[in-house]
Every structure is written in structure tokens, then in C-alpha cells.
Amino acid sequence: MSRDKKIDKRDADEKIIDLDKVRAIITKNYRVLSHDKTRMLMLFIFPIVMISIFGATTGVTPKHLATAIVDNDQSILSSQMVNQLEALETLSIRYSVGSESEAKKLLDEGNAKAVVVIPRGFEDAVKNGRQATIRLMVDQSDSTVAQIASASIKGFITGLSKQASGQLIGQRQAEAAIAARKVAALEALLYSGGQAAGTADAYDLAAEQATLARYRLLQSTDTLTRLSQAVAANVYSPTNADYLNELAFSYDNAGSKASLVSAMNFDAQYVAQMGTYSGLAAGNMVVLRNVVSTQTLVAQAKAGSLALSAQLDSAAPVANSVQVVLEDFSSTDTVSLADPIKVESVDVYGQRQGIDFALPALIALIIFQGAIMGMGRAIAGERHDGSLTRVFLTPTSDTTILLGTQLFYMVLETFRAIFIVIIAMLAFGLTISGNVFDVLFIIILFTMGATGVGLVISSFAKTEEQFMPMAMLVSLPSMFLAGAFFPIQTMPAMLQGLAKVLPIYYAGDALRGVMVKGFSLMQVLPDVIFLLLFALAMLVISTRVFKREVM
């Protein structure tokens, strides 16, 4: 026979990976999809619907949240504070109750979303420079509401605290200025007294101390001035930076970010000045001791010079009043001066993850579902309608068939993910904090694992009918364990454990890290490694279970 004699190209060994055929499979899948306009449309409408729902439910700030007040102080200051809270757009004071337990009940029943507890002695503490603590409880079962209420109340109280801080510092400033004038007078007295008495030594020493005291006081005044400027320019304090961070992430707009950055810069200056102030307060203690010794010196000088006793009599009370001011200065608690009213958040239902983290998980979810369904159509579906039979009849290796199909869906899902990100950017002002290429890398890695799952399932399934329930079994739990709908941290330990073996958890985590927190790939390396290993495992398993048989 002729074919035994000549070299027959058909006798060439089948290539395990034939890139030309891989390209042909990708082209074929693209043509099939591009001819099926309805399916194509659905693939891109679905994510729009999903992000629209998410955007509508999580991106918009809820307004007029029902709030309950427990005013244990019943003072002018506390009622002023309640009035100002009422003026906030996000809150609506619906209840004023007598006890914390009553308020907690309102919270449990869902009638109130937030509770603000004003402690007894609130006004007194604020006026006398002691730190007062407002307790805040929010309904954390609704994470969106919890975060908004908590952020807006904290923001408000922080502002209030700064106002009070400004007043206290102003008071101190005025006192310091008066004290400085008095010390100047004392200084003058001591100098003229010394000259007149001729007992220069004691008087000179006292006058020198007085000069030093005046100098110190002037420094204090100066610092206090700068402190009040810092307070006036900035209503935020370092302790609230974390909340501002969260707030900025949830709305993710450039404006709030910029103001946050400047607020943090002010905070830094503020902290530095507080430090200077503390140093000065310690210095004042030394001056105080010196002033006390000045009094002794004045007494000695008085004994030596009767002629000046009348003048010196008037100097003694001035020195006394300076002593009082200086004592007050050094004993002032710098923390309560900086932040007279503190908010203490009460975690009623445990720690929660905010909604700001939903979008990356949503992207991971859409990719995952799309990849599984797409692969199901490509492998189980084509097996079902017989078109895979035709492919089986060609000298094309299993690996080539699987690789070609998988690559097509990886490309498709990557495009869908990019599409989702663009829509989210345009419609909901999403900004990517990290490197866009890192985001792309994670997405591609994840599409590899996700299509791999689809590949394994469709290799197990003999028909498309078998494929559907199998795919549901994997994709439905993933939907809930992705962290898109519910924060994983609130789930029972067992479910958390389950979530942590799913690639979607790591994809969501890595995307969140890069997109929201601005991490680099190195910072999300554990996630990346898991995703890579998972994708490779799926690839190996699918080539093992894939059967080149037709039922």
C-alpha cells in the first residue's frame, strides 16, 4: 500500500500541546460567542445589574437613621450636644430614654440604629478640663448602617471635642498672658526695689528668676496660640484617623481623601505641639520652684530694707498668683486639653467588616460564576450537543482541547472583570489605590483557577444536565462565602474555615488589598501563591479526570 512507502504526515506523533490548535479553539469559541448576540449581551448585562444593585445599596449614604439618646447628665452642654446631633443629616433623634438597657432594647428590636449615651458629670468634666467619655452603640447587624452612623456620630463628637479643646486652650492662653503681665510687674518691682535698697544680690537674683518666669510664660502663650490654630484648622484628632480611613474607603472619592491627608498632616503638627507644650509644662515646674525661692529672697530683702517694705508687700500677692497659675499649668492633663470629649464605641454584636470591601469580592464572584458556567457550556455542553465528538475525532490531544477552551474563557472573564471595574469607576467612583497591573495579574490568576474549577466539574459531568447541579454545589456556597454579601468575620468558625479553602476568598482578599488598601503584590503574596497553586491543581486534576469518550 502506498501509505506504507512514503512518509505519511499522519504518522507524526500527536503533540501534547499544539499551539496552532489552541489558537484555533480560541478563535472558534470567540466566533461561537460573537454569533450568539443574546448570550454575549447577557454576559455583560449581568455584571452591570449586579454592581448597580450593590452600588445602590451600599454606595449611597443612608439618611435620618433612627437614633436614641440616653442623657445621664441633663446639663446645658448635653442638651446643646443633642440639638447639634439632631441637626446632622444622617441622624434623626427619635428616642430619648432614661437608661442604657432601654436603649439597647430599641437597638435589638431594630427601632433604633444608633444609641448615644452621655455620661453623668459630662458638662462638669468638659468645663474643668477632664476627659469625658460618650458611649456609642450601633446596630452592627446592618453593617452599612452601623458604619455610617458610627462614623457620623464619631465625626461630630470629635468636632465638638475640638471645639471644647479650643476653648480650654484659649482660656489657658488668656491666663498665661495675665500671668506674664503680673510677672513683668513683679520683675520691675524687684529691679527698682533692689536699686533703691542697695542690697543688690538678693534682689538681682529674684529679678533674674522673675525674668526667666516671664520668658517661660511668653513661650507657653506662644505655644498655646499655635495649638489653638492647629485645633481651629483641624477638627480631627489622631485617635479618629482610623475611622476616617474607613470612611474614605467606603466612599472613595478624591475630595475626602485629600482632606483626610491634610487632616492627618495637621494632626501630626498638633501632636508635635502638644509635645512642646508638655515640655514647657515641665519647664514651668522648674520656674515655679524658682519663683518660690524668689519669694524667700523677697522676704530676706524685706527684712534688709524697711524702706521698700510697702512696695514689696504688694509684690508678694503677685508672686503668689503667678505661683497658682504656674501650678495649674503644670498639673493640666495634656490629653484632656487636646481631646476633652472622647467617644467610646461599644461593639454590640462583635467586630464587622465594612461594605466598602464589597466590590473586589463582587468582581471575584462574577468572574467565578462566569468562568464555571462558561466552561460548562464549552465542555459539558459541547459533549451534550455532540460538537465535542467532532473534536475528539481529530488528532488533537486532551491537553490541547482543555487548554484552548480554558484560555478562551480566561480571556473572556478577564475582559468582563475589566468591564466591571470600568463600570464601577464611572458609575460609583471606584478608584484603584494600588497598581492597575497588579489588579490585572490577580484577576488573570483567578480566572485560571475559576476556569479550572469549571473544567474539573465539566470533566466529571457526563451531560450538561449533570453539570448544572454540580456547578451550583460549588458556586452557591462561594457566593455567600466570597464576602460580597456578608462579612466572613461574622460567620461561624466552620464556615470561615470553608471559606478559606475557596479560591474566591483569596481572590477577594488580594483584590481588596490592592484595589482598596493600595497594597503591592508582595503584600498579598500569600493570596497570590494560593491562587497559583489552586489553578495548577485544577489543571492537573482536569487532565486526569477528562474522559475522551462519548456516551
Binding site: M1, K9, R10, D11, D13, E14, D20, K21, A24, I25, T27, K28, R31, V32, L33, H35, D36, D385, G386, S387, T389, R390, V391, F392, L393, T394, P395, T396, S397, R548, E549, V550
Partner: protein, 311 residues
């Protein structure tokens, strides 16, 4: 040298034996038919011969290569027209053929020229750029055939290619098949249409319950079963006595009652019609019709399997 040769080829699904240890030889250039009712094991046999199913035991050598050991080499030498349409409905004939051509490693430039040639041959050239999902059964089957021929196979397997087609399409399909065969392609054809098998196939294997129960040319099969002709008599009132008397006639070799008809094996002879007519006239029994015909493959099948193919 046989183009196809199997030895004790067997396929089991659990306890069910779909194909029971068949030995088979198909010569180069033959049109070989597999005849049998649905579930006889024809399609499973074809799947094993075309590498789409792994034999449970036994061997099958196709064009010199073992299906189990060198499936890729077998695949590059065979063409298969599966029972159902197995191309992409979203794609046009040209796109479908391009894809199959690429997977068969045909150079890009040859794919287009060959596709055009084949589409003209199966009269689908006018529809070359129309998505094939909207095609009629006959058009789909012709496209499927074109796709199987793209890589110029030595052996063409056709699994019930005419089932569900209208008469014109059936005839066209058979014509194309004969044409291919004349060009040297060995054809393996499965059908449950006796008439088609008889008209088209050089040799036929009759399958039932996974076994090949007879093999040979149509004439050989008939001779094996009976050397007589068949008389079909429409006699609705024929009594048992009449049937017994009919059997006693010298030229009648067997009588079977099939509803209102009597089916008899009769010796070849000129006066058969007159003799039978007289027999019933004498007994004053009504006869609607008497038809004398040659033995058909259907008769062979009924004889061999003790059942009607149409059941």
C-alpha cells in the same frame, strides 16, 4: 489486508454487554453495512472503531493501527458522520470546516479551497456563510459529511446518516456515499433501513443484542435463510383448517399468520398465483390480494431474530 479487523471486540457498561465479542473484517473499498434494531450495539461498535469509546476487551485494527494503542493515527485516517449533528450551530459551514480543518492539521490555504470544493459537492455552497443552526436535517447531515471528508479519510463511518431525513435527502445522501466509494473510500454504514442496506451495501452484518448474527452480501444472507419465494395472501377469514390444508400443498413450505395476512414460503413456479387463487376459490374464502415476491432482508431479519425490525 483488511481495512478494519476486530477480534473478540467487547464493550460492557456495568453488567450490561452492549457489544458481545465480535469478530469482523472489512475489505478495502467496500461499503459495509451494520443492520439491526435500535439498541443492537451498532452505534457502540462504531464508537469503538472510531476511538470514541474504549473497548472493554478485544482488539480493533483500523487501517493498520490499533484503536487502543494508536488512536491519533486511527483518527487521522477515518472520517465519521455521527448520528446527530455534531458541529457548531452558531457557525457557518465555512467557519465549521475551518475549525475542523485546523484540528486536522490541514494547512490554512488548503482548508478554504477544500471547503469550497466539498460544499459544492454536497450542494451547500450557496449557504456557506449562513449560520448552520437554521439548516434542515438533510443540510446538516450533508455539512456533517463534508466535515468528515475534509482531511481525505481512507475509511468513512456513517452512523444512520439518513435517519429522519426526507426521501429526497436520503437519495442524495446515498448518491454521495456511492460516489465517494467509487473514489476508493471504504464506507462503514449503519442503518435500520433494510431497503437502504440492501441497495447500498456490498456486505452486511446483522446485529442483535450486541451480537453479529449473520454476515455476508444481501444474497448470501437471503440464501442462508431460505431458498424460496414469499407469497403474501390477504385472507381475513382464513380458518385453522384452511391454513393446515394450505401447508399440505406441494409447493408451499411454510405458512405463518400475520394478522389478516398469511405469509407463505413457496417454490418458484409460473402458476403460483393461479394455484393459490384456485385454492381459496374452491373453499369459498375471500381473498383480498395475493402478492408473490422475492425474499427481502426484512424476512431474513425476522427469521434470524424472531422479531420485526419495526417493533
Amino acid at each position: 489486508m483488511f481495512e478494519i479487523e476486530t477480534r473478540r471486540l467487547e464493550k460492557k457498561f456495568g453488567n450490561f454487554t452492549a457489544v458481545n465479542s465480535i469478530d469482523l473484517q472489512v475489505k478495502k473499498g467496500e461499503i459495509f453495512g451494520f443492520l439491526g434494531p435500535n439498541g443492537a450495539g451498532k452505534t457502540t461498535t462504531i464508537k469503538m472503531l472510531t476511538t470514541l469509546a474504549t473497548p472493554t476487551s478485544g482488539t480493533a485494527i483500523i487501517a493498520g493501527y490499533d484503536v487502543a494503542k494508536e488512536p491519533a493515527k486511527v483518527r487521522s485516517r477515518i472520517g465519521v458522520v455521527p448520528q446527530s449533528f455534531s458541529l457548531f450551530e452558531e457557525l457557518s459551514p465555512m467557519e465549521n470546516l475551518w475549525y475542523i480543518g485546523k484540528l486536522n492539521e490541514i494547512p490554512e490555504k488548503d482548508i478554504v479551497s477544500k471547503s469550497i470544493e466539498l460544499l459544492k459537492a454536497v450542494t451547500l455552497y450557496d449557504k456557506r456563510d449562513v449560520p448552520s443552526g437554521g439548516f434542515s436535517g438533510g443540510m446538516k447531515q450533508r455539512l456533517s459529511l463534508a466535515a468528515s471528508l475534509l482531511h481525505e479519510p481512507d475509511i468513512l463511518f456513517m452512523d444512520e446518516p439518513t435517519t429522519g431525513l426526507d426521501p429526497q435527502s436520503r437519495i442524495a445522501m446515498r448518491e454521495i456515499t456511492r460516489d465517494l466509494n467509487r473514489k476508493g473510500v471504504t464506507v462503514v454504514y449503519t442503518t435500520h433501513d433494510m431497503d437502504e442496506a440492501e441497495k447500498l451495501c456490498d456486505r452486511i452484518a446483522i446485529m442483535d443484542h450486541g451480537n453479529i448474527i449473520a454476515i455476508g452480501t444481501a444474497d448470501e444472507l437471503k440464501r442462508k435463510v431460505s431458498k424460496y419465494e414469499i407469497a403474501e395472501i390477504g385472507a381475513p377469514d382464513a380458518s385453522k383448517e384452511t391454513v393446515e390444508e394450505l401447508k399440505k400443498l406441494s409447493f408451499v413450505h411454510s405458512v405463518e399468520k400475520d394478522g389478516s395476512r398469511l405469509v407463505c414460503e413457496v417454490s418458484d413456479g409460473g402458476e403460483m398465483f393461479a394455484k393459490l387463487s384456485d385454492f381459496f376459490k374452491k373453499r369459498r374464502q375471500q381473498v383480498n390480494e395475493i402478492r408473490i415476491r422475492k425474499l427481502s432482508l426484512e424476512d431474513v431479519f425476522i427469521k434470524l431474530t424472531k422479531k420485526d425490525l419495526r417493533e
